[in-house]
């Protein structure tokens, strides 16, 4: 039995400990916002945060996660108003939307470590996230916009 902490909520997990976190989240714990795209850590659709760091949940067994804190897209904000989520909506970033949970989780992690990244830094940080629809340019713009929103939030508070 493992206790998995997802978005601050504890779940008792007694299935296969070798199961990648992705499938434990989706099939066992019913967090379906995190998506499957490749199963090999190649596309980033399954990106979640482990103690605030972005990981590929499709290539991370539950046994490795243990009691560390998992954050999924569902836990990013209470009302979908995280600056990255707001910027994404403001710029109508998504097309099909399938990869965007992973894109957003990678972007949030980037902005945490680098509050005001350059295009080049964005390209490096986001290189593991594929979007077949080709929303990359808007992703770049939305990350800059979210950086701006974050500054605005800070200045207000």
């Amino acid at each position: 039995m493992i206790t998995l902490t997802v978005n601050g909520k504890q779940h008792q997990y007694d299935d296969d400990e070798n199961m990648p976190l992705l499938w434990a989240l989706r099939d066992i714990l019913n967090y379906k916002g995190t998506k499957y795209g490749c199963g090999k850590g190649l596309c980033g659709a399954c990106t979640v945060h482990l103690n605030g760091q972005p990981i590929r949940s499709c290539a991370t067994p539950v046994s490795v996660v243990g009691d560390q804190k998992i954050t999924t897209i569902e836990g990013l904000s209470e009302n979908g108003d995280h600056p990255v989520q707001e910027a994404w909506q403001e710029l109508n970033v998504p097309q099909c939307g399938y990869c965007q949970s992973g894109q957003i989780m990678s972007a949030v992690a980037l902005l945490k470590s680098n509050p005001s990244p350059t295009d080049e830094q964005i390209d490096i940080a986001m290189s593991g996230n594929i979007c077949r629809c080709g929303t990359y340019e808007r992703i770049r713009k939305a990350i800059h916009r979210a950086a701006q929103l974050k500054i605005d939030v800070k200045e207000q508070s």
Partner: protein
């Protein structure tokens, strides 16, 4: 009026927490044929003058999106069209995803035709509802109907200032006869509230950024089993034997069963193989990988990419199926001052939507309830009905969001797999395709070889154009042994728009060894690559500016009549008189893209431009690409400019996003796209060996939309074809090397 709600299904989903507008079950709407509506006893809570729209007494407006959302924004664009004519307030709109049902007309969401085909029917639905609401209010106020008007969800009376919300007119409007469409007046474009506006947020935007969406992969049914299938690596191979002992030993694996072998032609039938049934996705995938299977390998094992390429090349020299013939190319070539020739090769490609195919099915009481990421619910319904021997009415297809489609999800083979597995198991099941499955067992974009020859006169004028192609045909998927292209010729081959006296387009034979399907833009990809590259080659040969030369090649303003040139041209299903091949529009987008890209401005050292233009899906798109050499010597596409004339631009914001996506899609094809086969087996399996463009590969895109009141054309696909040749033409300008074969990463330059 009778509304039937399938309570069991609704409760099932409710219990699962599926909702949020992403997967709302449509109810069965009554048909109407312009007759007075029968009124059921009791209070009327819904006014429903059309299958596409209804108004509820709580003042919400239900708009049915009968087309599939796969990123093109149709769940936003359809409501924009209906709400505009209805004069609804955007906040009162509830978007309802339509079930598969022929009452909606075609739901086949491919061919870039959702807006093109439904712009007027949807406007008619909106204006019908609005007119009846106005009539109901006028009756209520006892004023002439001319004195009332609809605005932002209310009917107003002009002189008195009275107003009534739509919802309060539901009962009265329901009692009125549905007006004759001829008697309705559509709005003038200057009065549009939503059509042509760019400030409408995506209907699903909030759900997407919060992870509150339901794609095919996400559907969950109580007691559901998960199925992953080992399909034959070589098409139509038969199962000889299998050992499931290791698979069954995996925790969570419930059972392993053999499926029927595929009998060709493939159509949309399951491919056969061995299915692993498990308690979760991971166990099913693990179980599948643990199977030990022996196949009786089919004759398609002869398929090897290298020898196939040579075969296609030879086949171009025996291109006997003449598809367009004007004048006499052979005589012109024989008497030419100079003959210029180019040979082009585009490999086999696959869709790789981020969400691989997935479908959930529940067979109970003789009927199938199905949830799937399908582009074509009616085809899914009919295919399941035919193959599993039930009436189509017994097959309910619920359309989820699609995590990309690109043509893959208009083939319902995976949905049939889910249906038959549910029937077999007597339980709800979900069939999941892994990325490997999607790449190795797809419906492929055909590998193609093309040869173009031009006869040039003394001043480099083009007197003849001879274009021979060879590629396995989509028809082979539907008729065993079909080996000459059909509809593919209409997608950028025979509609070559240059003004040349002698033209011949012909196709050679090619036997398919994989399922051939359609991928976004279809054969426009390879045919535009060849034609637009060759135009650039002709310009260079003549020592002229490629843009000026291109305009010259297109020639005078005219409507091209292919029927006069012995060509049977499908024109994307549209009548030529409504959607002609109009060279003026083609030249216009060339001029506009040249202007916006500052074509004539010299570029900095190490940067260069290329240009291409192509009409497809009855829209016109010109592209300029700017490429540069990076410090490591590799080439990057820095910028792409696209000018698009798609007639009336209903949702310019989504048109821009489709063009941005087309630029990236084009980069993927130009740089990376290549499948290879060895002994009939596709060698690639995932994003490491079938790479697609990542963020650093993606250009900065500038999109220009021609303002037009013409009939709406396609948007989802027309952007892609000119991008690839614009890139290779730019690379020629930069490096002096002509790349006639894709992908470019094989050449070591990207």
């Amino acid at each position: 009026m009778k509304t039937i709600e399938n309570v069991s299904r609704r409760n099932l989903l409710k219990g699962l927490g599926i909702g949020s507008g992403a997967l709302v079950l449509a109810v069965n709407f009554p048909e109407f044929i312009g007759m007075p509506k029968a009124i059921a006893a009791g209070q009327i809570s819904k006014f429903e003058p059309s299958v596409y729209v209804h108004i509820n007494s709580d003042n919400t407006v239900g708009i049915v999106v009968h087309r599939s959302e796969m990123g093109q924004g149709i769940r936003t664009s359809i409501p924009m069209i209906v709400a505009d004519e209805l004069e609804a307030d955007w906040q009162q709109i509830k978007v309802i995803q339509g079930l598969g049902d022929k009452k909606y007309g075609s739901q086949n969401t491919d061919g870039s035709r959702s807006v093109r085909r439904f712009y007027y029917p949807l406007r008619e639905a909106g204006v019908t509802a609005r007119t009846m609401l106005e009539q109901a209010a006028a009756q209520q106020w006892q004023v002439p109907v001319e004195q009332v008007f609809a605005k932002e969800g209310y009917i107003h009376h002009g002189s008195s200032g009275k107003k009534v919300p739509f919802g309060e007119l539901v009962e009265a409007a329901s009692r009125l006869p549905v007006p004759d469409p001829q008697a309705l007046t559509l709005k003038e474009s200057k009065d549009f509230n939503f059509i042509g506006k760019s400030d409408v947020a995506l209907v699903d935007g909030h759900d997407i950024v919060t992870g509150n969406t339901t794609y095919g992969y996400d559907v969950d049914l109580p007691g559901m089993e998960y199925v992953v299938i080992a399909r034959p690596p070589v098409l139509a191979s038969a199962l000889e034997s299998f050992d499931a002992s290791k698979a069954k030993a995996i925790k969570g694996v419930i059972d392993v069963v053999a499926l029927d072998n595929l009998q060709e032609p493939p159509l949309f039938k399951p491919l056969g193989g061995v299915a692993v049934i498990a308690k979760n996705s991971w166990a099913a995938m693990q179980g599948r990988d643990a199977l030990d299977i022996k196949w009786k390998v089919s004759d398609h094992k002869v398929y090897n990419t290298d020898t196939y390429k040579q075969m296609l090349k030879d086949s171009c020299d025996n291109a006997e199926a003449v598809l367009r013939k004007k004048g006499d190319v052979d005589t012109a070539l024989a008497s030419a001052d100079k003959v210029l020739a180019g040979e082009y090769y585009v490999p086999e490609l696959i869709h790789v939507p981020m969400e691989p195919p997935a479908a959930a099915a529940h067979f109970h009481n003789g009927q199938f309830d199905i949830w799937a990421c399908t582009q074509t619910p009616q085809s899914a319904q009919n295919t399941v009905a035919t193959l599993l021997n039930v009436a189509p009415e017994k097959v309910n297809i619920n359309v989820t969001l699609l995590g990309g489609g690109f043509g893959r999800k208009s083939k319902p083979d995976f949905i049939v797999e889910a249906a038959l597995m549910s029937k077999r198991r007597g339980k709800p099941v979900k069939v999941l395709w892994t990325r490997e499955d999607e790449i190795k067992n797809g419906y492929y974009h055909a590998v193609s070889y093309q040869k173009i020859k031009a006869a040039l006169g003394p001043n480099n004028e083009v007197n003849a154009w001879k274009h021979d192609v060879a590629l396995p045909t989509i028809s082979s998927t539907f008729a065993k042994g079909a080996n000459v292209i059909g509809g593919e010729a209409d997608l950028g081959l025979i509609d070559m728009p240059y003004d040349i006296a002698n033209v011949q387009c012909a196709a050679g034979k090619a036997t398919a060894h994989t399922r051939i399907g359609w991928l976004r833009s279809v054969t426009n990809i390879n045919q535009a690559f060849a034609i637009c590259s060759f135009a650039d080659e002709l310009a260079r040969n003549a020592g002229e500016d490629p843009k000026d030369y291109l305009l010259k090649l297109i020639g005078k303003d005219r409507q091209i009549n292919l029927a006069e040139e012995n060509a049977k041209y499908g024109n994307y299903g549209e009548p030529m008189e409504k959607y002609p091949i109009d060279t003026a529009r083609l030249k216009n987008v060339v001029e506009r893209v040249a202007k916006m890209s500052d074509w004539n401005k010299p570029r900095a050292e190490g940067k260069a431009l290329g240009i291409a233009v192509h009409r497809s899906f009855v829209s016109y798109v010109a592209c300029v690409a700017e490429v540069s050499k990076k410090a490591d010597g590799k080439i990057k596409v820095d910028k792409v400019w696209l000018s698009v004339d798609c007639g009336t631009a209903v949702n310019p914001e989504r048109i821009r996003s489709q063009m941005e996506g087309a630029a990236v899609f084009g980069v993927s094809i130009a740089f990376f796209g290549e499948l290879t086969a060895k002994d009939g087996v596709i060698e690639q399996s995932n994003f490491h060996d079938y790479p697609i463009a990542r963020i650093a590969d993606s250009p900065v895109t500038n999109v220009d939309i021609v303002e037009s009141d013409d009939l709406p054309g396609g948007v989802g696909e027309p952007g892609v074809p000119p991008v690839v040749p614009a890139i290779t033409n730019a690379i020629y300008e930069l490096t002096g090397t002509r790349y006639r074969e894709l992908p470019l990463n094989k050449m070591g330059i990207v």
